[in-house]
């Protein structure tokens, strides 16, 4: 849930999603769900020559399970808060 919570705060920010097939898509994060499925707008593909079929695509929905990384805009991420949230999850883990 934590990661989902983080992604929610990054809507309308530019992210780069790197897929497990090495395709890297940069675009504006429009929505995300609990499975970390991602919807991007205004996308561009890193290596367009290798993926010509992506050239005409302007937005996309990415299934969460095919994602390897997501590069986040550091200025919109509060690392201290991330760590606090992780600690809280760990605390709850022990409580349960």
């Amino acid at each position: 849930m934590l990661i989902f919570s983080v992604f929610k705060t990054l809507t309308d920010q530019q992210v780069t999603v790197e897929l497990k097939n090495d395709l890297s898509i940069t675009g504006v994060l429009k929505s995300v769900d609990q499975f970390l499925n991602i919807r991007l707008d205004n996308i561009t593909v890193l290596d367009e020559a290798r993926h010509p079929h992506m050239m005409a695509v302007k937005n996309c929905f990415i299934r969460g399970s095919v994602v390897r990384y997501v590069q986040l805009p550091a200025e919109h991420v509060d690392t201290q808060l991330l760590e606090d949230a992780t600690r809280r999850e760990a605390q709850n883990q022990i409580k349960r």
Binding site: T9, D78, D84
Partner: protein, 838 residues
């Protein structure tokens, strides 16, 4: 005495032996495989009715004298009793199984005929009175005749019989007693047995011994008996039905055989139909008749065996066996299912509907978390931070940039901390304000210092100030021995009042004194209870810090609690909350290890905690909750261990934490802290570091604020005098190093001589804190000290002014920074860069 030719003693022995054998048999066969648990139902008490059951000893008549009629038959043995008992309670399944014949079964079911005592004994005849048949009367008459003939003989015999009967009675009594004893023993053994081998019913163990449980068991036994009786009845009905069908079928088959040649397919079909019919009919009975399908299959098999060729018979046998097995399997399945349902239904209606509603309410209430941040903590708090930032305006942008670029915690200042600009910016503003205030005061006083330094910077002209800056310098040679600034401390200071014309050694002593005062604040002046130890390991640091984070999160949660934070900045705590808060803060304080003696380890454990990234991050979040006294202690420890701190630690967290304390600290505290810095630590090295310089600036500005009287608690003259000693000592120590305080100067020292003003990007922002420090120093300096400052830094000042004015610096922003830096310092001296002519 012998009877029927047996020696009495032998008979006796024989009887005993049999009893013993029986005992063994009974013990070992009771309740092994087929044990049904009924033994548990046996009552050990209620012996008061034994007389009714077994008869009173005195009244025992010939009715029970079976032995006299057939002495070979053993008198009422234990096994007989057991059998009776068993039969009364339940007819074992085996016995039903064995009785295949419908007739035997009918007999068996109708009563316990096989268990009835044989009725042909003379004793019974004699007893029988009432209506008698002709035959009986005839035979009786004959017997009467014979009796008369044998009267004499019988007379004798009767005497003997009488004796024997008495003997028998005694024997019987003895046997009964024995039996009772044995029975009790068996019961005990059974109970033991049951405890060992039977798994107790789940969750019922504590109940099983209770009277209620016994009652329940008895009721169950009764129920079982009833069921079995019903079963018998049903079985009989079924068998009748079966016989009827069988008869029908036989008729049918005989017709069939006579008309059509036997068709196996047809036959099989008929079979199936018939079987289906049978099974169908038997269905409603199944519940009461567990073995019915099996029975039916068997009956079918038997029936099919009749009037069929050998091969067909064989085939049928196989088929029948298969069906039997199938039926058995089905039956087994059904029974298991029924058992399962019965098992599950044990707890039926254990809870009422309102109980269930209650549980549901509890479950739902757990779903609704007490912590609104539980699952979405990050987004919730992040949103709150962003919102609070939105409401702040221009200053806010800088906070955002600061946090983002420096990688410094945004989360920490969010909870109150971000309401003020960051520490460095705040300090810079403070210095500017002080300088401008000081300048105003000077102007009011009649431009005293302006005059004294008039033209001190000299005139520069020509292409380069390098050409002849020294020659143009016009410094009052009497006031400032510029050639040897190191000697300046030996000169008496004009500014200091007559009583304060103190030598170097005096001010050094003052620093020592102040340092001692500072250490006393730490509360560990005595070294008696000092336990020296190794510095904390990386792991120890991390573990301690994670424990601290738990506490901090709890405290913050406490403050964030909706009950206590609704729209109010100052929170009204309930007693419980307040106690909890105090407890958590106390724990944080002890985790921070501030109270450990200074010499515990190097670095001090507290400083070690600050070496970790998370330690730096947590400090401002912890210190926010500490009171003034604790903060003073913490600050003193920090200053005492200042050289152990790393730069990053200071700038990212320590400064932020201690700033509020220093800006509130009294002069005595500041004196002590500055003393600590100078005593036992390399003040020059500290001053050359960015954190050290920032700290010194902070102290100087604080004192200046106090001098300007902008505080509630006006320091005493004595305190000021003490401070003056500290200040002079500091000035002395730093004087030879003034130019080297600048990072640009230190960098230039490593550059080739012929490239004097190489442009290092951003160097002016690096120099900025030094200019601020020097400005803060200048504000408090005496005119003599002013002269020293000017002479030491003239070159640096001119370098900057010329770079800016001669257009050597292309970037406008950099040019402005250069001038602003210099002017801050010059203003503190009462000068301005515009006075420098070229």
């Amino acid at each position: 005495m012998s009877f029927f030719g047996f020696e009495e003693r032998t008979l006796e022995r024989e009887k005993n032996r049999r009893v013993e054998q029986d005992e063994d048999l009974a013990v070992y066969t009771w309740g092994e495989e087929s044990y049904d648990g009924l033994g548990d139902a046996l009552q050990e008490e209620h012996d008061e009715l034994n007389d009714e059951t077994f008869g009173d000893v005195g009244k025992v008549g010939k009715d029970f004298d079976f032995a006299s009629a057939n002495p070979a038959v053993q008198p009422i043995s234990k096994s007989f009793f057991l059998k009776n008992l068993l039969a009364a309670q339940a007819i074992s399944l085996e016995s039903i199984w064995d009785d295949r014949s419908p007739f035997s079964m009918r007999l068996n079911g109708s009563g316990r005929s096989s268990l009835q005592p044989r009725g042909d004994s003379p004793a019974q005849h004699r007893q029988q009175s009432g209506i008698r048949t002709l035959q009986e009367i005839e035979s009786e008459m004959q017997a009467l005749l014979r009796e008369r003939q044998q009267q004499l003989l019988q007379q004798k015999q009767r005497e003997e019989e009488e004796f024997l009967r008495q003997e028998e009675e005694r024997e019987f009594q003895r046997q009964r007693l024995l039996y009772q004893q044995e029975q009790a023993q068996i019961q005990r053994q059974q109970q033991l047995h049951a405890h060992q081998h039977r798994t107790p019913p789940p969750r019922m163990l504590p109940v099983s011994q209770s009277p209620r449980f016994m009652e329940h068991q008895q009721r169950q036994i009764l129920l079982l008996q009833q069921q079995q009786e019903q079963q018998q009845l049903l079985r009989l009905q079924q068998l009748q039905e079966q016989l009827r069908v069988e008869e029908l079928e036989r008729q049918l088959r005989s017709q069939h055989i006579s008309t059509i040649p036997p068709d196996p397919d047809m036959e099989a079909l008929q079979h199936q139909q018939l079987q289906h019919q049978l099974r169908h009919r038997s269905l409603p009975l199944e519940d009461g008749l567990p073995y019915l399908p099996h029975k039916l299959a068997q009956a079918e098999f038997l029936r099919d065996m009749q009037g069929l060729p050998q091969a067909d018979q064989e085939a049928l046998r196989v088929e029948a066996m298969r069906k039997i097995l199938e039926a058995e399997k089905m039956e087994e399945k059904r029974r298991r299912k029924a058992a399962k349902i019965a098992h599950m239904s044990r707890y039926n209606d254990l809870m009422t509907q309102s109980d269930k509603d209650f549980i549901t309410r509890i479950q739902v209430s757990q779903l609704v978390s007490q912590d609104p941040y539980a699952d979405d903590f990050y987004a919730q708090v992040y949103g709150a931070i962003v919102r609070s930032r939105m409401g702040l305006g221009a200053d806010d942008e800088r906070v955002l940039k600061f946090g983002a670029s420096g990688g410094v915690a945004l989360g920490a200042p969010s909870k109150g901390g971000n309401r003020r600009p960051n520490a460095m910016q705040r300090m810079q503003q403070q210095v500017e304000r002080i300088v401008s205030n000081a300048r105003k005061r000077e102007e009011e006083k009649g431009l005293h210092s302006l005059h004294s330094l008039q033209g001190a910077l000299g005139k520069t002209s020509g292409r380069s100030y390098k050409a002849a800056p020294r020659q143009l310098l016009q410094v009052d040679s009497g006031a400032a021995p510029s050639a040897s600034p190191t000697l300046s401390h030996a000169q008496p200071h004009a500014h200091i009042s007559k009583s304060d014309s103190i030598s170097n050694s005096h001010s050094d002593a003052a620093a020592t004194h102040a340092a001692r005062l500072g250490r006393e604040t730490l509360g560990n002046g005595s070294s008696e209870d000092l336990v020296r130890m190794e510095p904390l390991t990386q792991r120890e640091i991390l573990v301690t810090l994670e424990n601290m984070y738990d506490l901090v999160l709890n405290v913050e949660q406490l403050r964030r609690d909706p009950a206590s934070s609704r729209g109010r900045r100052r929170v009204f705590w309930s007693n419980g909350e307040s106690n909890e808060f105090d407890r958590l803060v106390d724990q944080m304080w002890s985790h921070l290890k501030v109270m450990l003696p200074l010499a515990t380890s190097t670095p001090h454990p507290f400083i070690s905690l600050l070496s970790a990234a998370k330690g730096k991050k947590i400090l401002p979040r912890v210190t926010r909750h500490f009171d003034q006294q604790r903060m003073n202690t913490l600050l003193t420890l920090l200053i005492a261990c200042f050289s152990q701190l790393d730069t990053q630690a200071f700038l990212s967290s320590v400064l932020q934490s201690i700033l509020p304390i220093i800006v509130k600290g009294n002069l005595r505290l500041v004196c002590g802290l500055v003393g600590l810095l100078m005593h036992g630590q390399d003040i020059v090295a500290i001053a050359k570091s960015r954190p050290g310089l920032a700290l010194l600036t902070l102290f100087l500005t604080r004192v200046e604020v106090m001098r300007q009287g902008e505080v509630d608690e006006i320091p005493t003259q004595e305190d000021f005098a003490q401070w003056q000693l500290m200040f002079d000592h500091l000035f002395q120590l730093l004087t030879p190093e003034f130019p080297l305080l600048f990072p640009s100067t230190r960098m230039a020292a490593h550059l080739p001589r012929d490239q004097p003003h190489i442009n290092i990007p951003g160097i002016d922002s690096l120099d900025q804190p030094v200019w601020q420090f020097l400005a803060a120093l200048a504000v408090q300096a005496s005119s003599t000290q002013h002269q020293i400052l000017v002479s030491s830094l003239r070159e640096k000042v001119l370098d900057n002014v010329l770079s800016a004015k001669k257009g050597w610096v292309v970037d406008e922003e950099e040019r402005t920074t250069k001038l602003a830096n210099v002017d801050l310092f010059l203003h503190a001296l009462g000068l301005d860069s515009s006075q420098i002519t070229m």
